[in-house]
Symmetry: C3
Subunit: 268 residues, 3 copies
């Protein structure tokens, strides 16, 4: 769960200051056969509201159901999606809420960010996916006949560094995209970079983070979206409360407006 | 939970092949008084999607609330319904999903299959019901002022055999119906028969099953629905995975079209 | 959970007699930091139906998320609301269901009863609130930018007696109101009184209860609503079943019509 305050400088924003809160509870059903196959099913209870608009109740997501054995997972229904799950895709995220995910190179001003992912309180895409991991290598293939999107990612981990690539082929051509990510850490520092081609629209991001003092980390990113007017940037911090996390951040968006947030997130 | 693949040969079917998945979690609240009365309340979390249509989130059913003592149960709200709970009504079911419940003699091409039953993710019929069981005898009476349906069933069990009868009187005359069922087992075999009168439309079904090898059972039924063009039939199997069940089946429907499914179901 | 039967003599009532049932399950996520701050999040699963209208499924409320330390609680989202939580506001309630809450002086025929409160299956008011308690003194301040209502209550407890006051300032003037309550007990008896000013419309209530025999309590109230035609009154009882409670009551409403209920409520 998380709660806090959000700020948006955009003149047309619904709220300049907004109360934000969110609740997440995964309900996982798991069983294992005598032969070692694990069968699982998950639904998610998700709710929350931001600002002064009409509030909504919480919802229970459509299920993701599947099986795992020997590092191979097959799932159907409300799948997680291969592009969404690309390691490093969300690296450089700042703030309590992610503040619009401007750091993600698969989202551009022109093409939006359309791919299959687990719907936290909705129906999802009723697709199928296969995940595979062995030692340092991981791969993920997903397909939904509802959205007509096929996506694949592959990643390799060596020590403190991970590189990944992903590709999506969509029935809607403007949703075709591919993504490269790289990231790692040395001592108190983390760095990353990512490049995305969104049906010909390029976006590039670099990010870095540093541990400053006990339990505090500062994160920043800069991103260039070929279809955006302004350079995208973000600066954020997290501070451990020893069982919860104080988080905040500020970003500059494609129109040069700023969004910021501050609050606490915790697990239970 | 369950997941798998469904097939439908019907030319107008939404999908010839469809991804299927379903999630069920009962939330049961139970307390017992010092005098031994058990009070209970149940809601069900249910979700799942099939095929390429618009997907839907999971839902939480309306509650069934009531009390039990000395073999008598009284419940109100989202009741289970006496006709629905007739022992043997669903005997002969094949496949992962039941494949349209063609084996049920209370469902006909002309009259449909309308009776009160527990709604897994909806509001139910806000009715009242009384269940009674003593030794080999069981009875169940239900009424809903919302649907204006009164139903009753009675059953008797002797050793491996059970016979049951049910009757529904509905405000909508075409929903009047009565049902007889009989079923039992001997060694590795099971057999059953059922007859239904659906406001004058007769339907008859015979079914049988056999254990073949370790953990595998084959089930088949044939049914004649007076209002249908073709004879209804079904053939299915279940195979234990030692903690989950592989199940599949194929049926021939009232128009001579085929539906089939294959998948896994498991509890958690 | 609770279930039972409701009666309404009103000629235009949807049902004279109605089946009633309700289910409540709070899902609480709580964590505590090393420094002793408790962070919490709650959603509620709530369902139930009454009578012969269209039934509805259960719902999951929007979350209330916040933190507590040293007797101070701050929460945002689906807040409980300071006026709603005024100690003694609901004193004198009768029956299984409260029977229209005629005993509450903040509800009048002319002004209705509009204030912020926790929505059991809906979105709530996405507000913020602070609660404070120390020894015998308690206070509660709430505000919602969605409803534009600010409310505050304060209460003081001395031995078996409690007095409280509350005030609401609303963007909609007819929702401005203030409330005084006092209540206490001596031996087997309880008494209380409450006065409300609802944008100039006065309402007054006195209530009393008495333990009669083992596990049985009788409660009654009389209330005068300046904007109502008839005097409001209620008479009810509760009887312990040793793990559940049998409850029933009857009231006379602002038009001289009667509502009554009888049933069982229990926790699990």
């Amino acid at each position: 769960a998380r709660f806090g305050v959000m700020y948006d400088s955009t003149p047309t924003a619904a709220d300049e200051l907004a109360i934000h809160n969110r609740f997440t509870l995964n309900i996982d059903g798991v069983t294992e056969t005598d032969s070692g196959i694990e069968f699982f099913a998950r639904v998610r209870v998700r709710g929350g509201n931001t600002g002064t608009g009409t509030t909504s109740a919480s919802g229970v997501s459509a299920p993701r159901v599947g099986m795992s054995i020997n590092g191979v997972t097959v799932a159907v229904g409300n799948i997680t999606g291969a592009l969404e799950e690309t390691p490093g895709l969300y690296d450089g995220a700042v703030g309590l809420t992610g503040l619009g995910d401007l750091n993600v190179v698969a989202i551009t001003d022109q093409n939006g960010g359309n791919w299959d992912s687990f719907s936290s309180a909705g129906g999802g895409v009723n697709g199928a996916e296969v995940l595979f991991s062995t030692g340092a290598f991981g791969a993920h293939l997903s397909y939904s006949p509802v959205t007509d999107r096929t996506a694949v990612n592959a990643s390799y981990n060596f020590g403190d560094w991970t590189v990944a690539a992903a590709y999506q082929d969509a029935g809607l051509n403007t949703d075709d995209k591919w993504v490269l990510t790289a990231g790692g850490s040395f001592g108190n520092f983390g760095v990353g970079a990512s490049y995305g081609d969104n049906d010909g629209v390029a976006k590039f991001r670099v990010n870095g983070s540093a541990a400053v003092g006990s339990g505090t980390r500062v994160t920043a990113f800069v991103a260039d979206d070929e279809s955006a007017t302004d350079t995208l940037w973000g600066l954020g911090f997290t501070h451990s409360l020893g069982g919860a996390v104080l988080a905040g951040g500020v970003v500059g968006d494609q129109d040069g407006e700023n969004q910021a947030d501050l609050g606490v997130r915790f697990s239970f």
